[in-house]
Symmetry: C2
Subunit: 492 residues, 2 copies
Amino acid sequence: MTAYAKLRARFERIAIINEASAMLGWDASAMMPPGGGAARGDQLAVLAGLAHGLLTEDAAAEELAAARAGDDAWSQANLQLMRHAHLRATSLPADLVEAQSRANSACEKIWRRARQESDFKSVLPYLDNVVKLTREAASCLAPRLGLSAYDALMDGYQRGVGAVDVAPVFAAYEKFLRENLAEIEARQASKPPPLRPAGPFPADVQEALCRKFSALVGLDYNHARLDRSAHPFCGGTPTDVRITTRYDEADFTGALLGVLHETGHAMYERHLPAPWARQPVGEAAGMAIHESQSLIIEMQACRRDSFLRFLAPELRAAFGGDPAFAPENLGLLWRRVKRGFIRVDADEVTYPAHVILRFRLEQALISGDLALADLPGAWNEALFGLLGITPGNDAEGCLQDIHWYDGAFGYFPSYTLGAMAAAQLMQAARAEEPGIDAGLERGDLGVLGGWLDRKIHKRASLRGFNELLREATGEALSVAPFEAHLRGRYLG
Amino acid sequence: MTAYAKLRARFERIAIINEASAMLGWDASAMMPPGGGAARGDQLAVLAGLAHGLLTEDAAAEELAAARAGDDAWSQANLQLMRHAHLRATSLPADLVEAQSRANSACEKIWRRARQESDFKSVLPYLDNVVKLTREAASCLAPRLGLSAYDALMDGYQRGVGAVDVAPVFAAYEKFLRENLAEIEARQASKPPPLRPAGPFPADVQEALCRKFSALVGLDYNHARLDRSAHPFCGGTPTDVRITTRYDEADFTGALLGVLHETGHAMYERHLPAPWARQPVGEAAGMAIHESQSLIIEMQACRRDSFLRFLAPELRAAFGGDPAFAPENLGLLWRRVKRGFIRVDADEVTYPAHVILRFRLEQALISGDLALADLPGAWNEALFGLLGITPGNDAEGCLQDIHWYDGAFGYFPSYTLGAMAAAQLMQAARAEEPGIDAGLERGDLGVLGGWLDRKIHKRASLRGFNELLREATGEALSVAPFEAHLRGRYLG
């Protein structure tokens, strides 16, 4: 058995352990009774430790030193990704990883109450510890990866893209917003306000509709489940993908569009190349690309006029003949732009502002340019600069998101990189496949899905972020298609 | 860290891995879409391999050689059970374990069709392989454990009881049957036939009733779930126990009594002593004791007249005022004795005959006294000898149960040992706790539950099978309480 073959077996074993963790993580959010939490934490920690052990034990380093992959690009990329994973895992001392895990858990727990009570001061010492340890981790990773400290953190979520790539597209988008947001709002104000469909919308009818539409996008329920959880997500494994949502009987929008979003994620996992399953090169290319796959379904395809014309009679059949179900009204309703304080409630035009704010502040926190005690003020100032609004309290400001309080720094850019990539991919797909819009008119996402399958899903991690985009669309990440999309939709 | 402390940490880690497997096993039966099966098999195999590796690696043997437990009985029993687990695990060569796993899977798969088509010949070569490998495993285990080959297999399901304990109680029960079954049937025939409640019984109403009654028995849904699966079972872990059932809208009996049965199992897991969680001595004492806990709830408590009087108005409230819900009628209906071919459908009087038959035949198969090709004939002959009936085909005969075809030899006795132990425990509990019956009249199982908690659940694996029974009831396993129970219920 060659060293590379041994590595393949090793990474397969690691992937299988991670599959078990993924299923247990899904269960914890979708099924587990509260009393199971403590034991589940132990189970996930032991499995993480076992996977980490397989990745970092001496034999792995020996195999990596001796390994020669085949001549094909897939094997070579696979070996390179193995080295990368090994490098990341061995760069962090075990006691630092443990300290981070404890600090993140402790901070996240305090944050839940701090957010409720809008009390930033109460969580400040915990967040301070999280940031301190995150900086320490970043400074361990950075020299080994040849990246800046912040980029070393970003690399953990989306390989192959760093602050130097992100900053200019974000700056360009800030300019776009400054030049266009008022006009978008003015145009919207000149139209009649959208009608809101009158509920209630029974949860089981919503669920049946969500199931039908996710299947329409292509999700095969022989390899998938749809369940309920407090926060919608896509989990599980490529052959057994688990999506969740929650049902508000007063408004079905969140569940339906949320399921379409998660279905986009699910299709990516389902379509990853089976011959490379459980190998690093066979995994999804990163969080930003993943987000592009959910947003191209939810935002690019399903909120498009053509699809809304297909959707309207389906809604009438499910919920009765409310005039709010007219396709034009659905467009007004589901493409409404409104500056607000909360990222997760934001429309696609203002959402990037929330991300830009976080991207800038987290860089400053990691570099030390921003003291934590100054975060609330810096947040409010930055939001005012971007959107001209100021939150009434920190719960609507720097306490709103779990990410930092759980130790996730460098993740936020993925949301907007994903939105931009989705627009870029949709533009390229429509240019290459003229049948896409006609398909959407009749609820057929097959042509778009096939294009994504070939250009993104089946490429898995063969290429880095920008190279993947370049091969799919002819260019690296660009803000232009996203802006063109918004101009077409909101200023056309 | 002492060697014993290291062992405690080692067995805790093994137990946590096994918890993960238990949850994934539950998911596979209750949640998983069919397409997830292949990956799940890999996940369970890898986790089993990791647990096995921790149990059998050199360091474990070194720790066991050096370990001294504390003076207390719990620590001493714990260390002894560690040695026992290690001995069993290291007695089987890895390639034999793998070959068994493959042979069992292959045979079980063929068996599913063979049973459908009542075609024993088609599965014969596969079962032959299973039996051959089982005998090989038994012959590896037997000398190391100081047991006979068959007892070494039984030991895998219920430690501390062997054929020499089982054979005389089974022989005594056979005599009881010969002397009393016809009389039981005659008495039953002299009464009016029971009325059958007229359905349909909506599955969601049944489910709510099952949930209510399991909670009444004591199941805390902060630490439990009730779901649906093709074959009801109790799985999960002590702080997160998962019971399942299936709903037949034409007859709620199976679901309701099945859930009460599984709740008995669940209460045992929930009440195991927390300070010994994840240690061998803190586990349930074996399959026969486990079955005694389900049967004491389902058969001894919930089919008793006192409880049926409580249950009747609950059924009327759930399903309407069917005259079949009169307590006397429920007694006739749910304590009906009828000789039949199928073990899982058998009443409590004739059920042991099915087990006695299997106990005798599987001993003969393992010893080689019975050739596999002669199994169908031997089966039919034995059933005729015990119950005076002959199945029309092998699907109703030697093909009906999965156990042997999946490599489980030595398991069947647990069912009847459990039924006998349940009667023995109930007799002792009622003698010590006069409030039990009055409690059942008002649907209160707390007094019985408290007694079981003290005498069985909180004792976990501190004692072997007979010692546990002796400390709880004053004597080792005896058939007399079971016969007395049946006399009282069917000949009183």
